[in-house]
Symmetry: C2
Amino acid sequence: MWRNYLKQRQVQVEAAMETLVPARADEPLAEMMKAMRYSLFAGGKRLRPILLMAAADAVGKDGGSFLHAACALEMIHTYSLIHDDLPAMDDDDYRRGMLTNHKVFGEGMAILAGDGLLTLAFEVLLSQPDSPPATLNRVAREVAAAAGPAGMVGGQAIDLSSEGKFPSPQTMALMHSLKTGALFRASIRSGAILAEATEAELASLTEFAEKFGLAFQITDDILDVTGSDATLGKPVGSDERNQKATYVTVYSLPEAQKMAQQAVTEALASLEQFGEKAWVLRSLAEYLLTRDS
Amino acid sequence: MWRNYLKQRQVQVEAAMETLVPARADEPLAEMMKAMRYSLFAGGKRLRPILLMAAADAVGKDGGSFLHAACALEMIHTYSLIHDDLPAMDDDDYRRGMLTNHKVFGEGMAILAGDGLLTLAFEVLLSQPDSPPATLNRVAREVAAAAGPAGMVGGQAIDLSSEGKFPSPQTMALMHSLKTGALFRASIRSGAILAEATEAELASLTEFAEKFGLAFQITDDILDVTGSDATLGKPVGSDERNQKATYVTVYSLPEAQKMAQQAVTEALASLEQFGEKAWVLRSLAEYLLTRDS
């Protein structure tokens, strides 16, 4: 049942993005739009939009009414992947089984495609229909804070400066919470705020978001060791080769598995007050322990 | 008198940015903030913030009340310079007489410093105090549109893909109007919207903005030929060496000078209805014809 929900939401998000980031036939801007769309439609799981919508569902609103905000989060996530893959950053040739953006369009265009997606995301988010401007502005500030220097960009900066240095467990945890956790948190909080959650509901969903983000990151690190090239769409073991600090390298595989289980248990506990309405969030958290990509 | 105004506004903007983008002593984020601040405090003219404030002045509000929005525009401008200078783009080693961001902090950190400034700009803009949420929402959308794929990033993409190709005068004009004109236009319109301009006032200021942006770009191209390395802070003649299409290479130096004069005349004409209150905008337009950097 929840796989159906997932599929349905993915189709909804992709149809909306098709309209919000349309292909252009007219040069000279066609190439840039092509570069943006290449990564945007590269088969992502659309986890952040789905989390936003599922959080709104949990509060009792139809998450599908917040597609602009949902798509904006996917655009920000996609921009971050494009920039992360650049030669000056992680220098990756493949992502999701496809050549990375800069391998196809060149480095300059890849940088611009990322810049374009990030900027357009704010325009799209702030154009979310049927939400009061004060709510939209609050959500946009929340998303900007999560994506910016005190969030995702900051996490990436820590990652960049600690490569090959085997940072402390504290630094690694901070890096992950900024690089990945902050945007998950903003996705879930944005859905709750758009759905006019009470402060108590928002607090519980924030707690859920933090545990979810942690479990996601730990299982991501586990997959880099236990996954297969084919299902991941990228070479396994790249963290170790790049001397990256991960939950597996800093702790151990069994320890990391135990930590992931613990984070999911805590995530589920924070959803109690929402009853049946939180079933998608519950399924998403449980899925983290069995995912293969 | 207007040079005093200019100086006073620059001091105001820099003091505000000092608070909005503070230095951090704590590693591991200190280096990234240092990279952001290196370019932000590299002695820019603060033209976009000043245009925003002067447009608000023209409408009869104190432009100094809109410092958050003003600083956001400078942050977006600065991010665009950092990314433009990258090896994969214009590959410039110097700007304003200083080493470019990536020459000091490395390419990866320079990309992140730009990403960080762009994202933080939206958070700062949306935190502008004492403006109604609907107004801020409108301004932020305006700025995002001007900075994004249909604006500045699009202009840069055209620039990137037309280097060495001597594009048509039409393509060159489109490139400049997107790459530089769009953000000038958004700066002036944002000031007007924040100051609650009437639709008629907004239309006149938009007309001014378009002529101002055109005159700025033409005089910029002229300076690349007639300026000196010392006052420009970068090597003159780089447009010709890089086979860039400019108003001087596509037309001629005397023709470009005539076009700049014409644009300034039209810019001034569009300010008639504002009387004395538009004196700063007038001075800024006239200054374009005599500037040496």
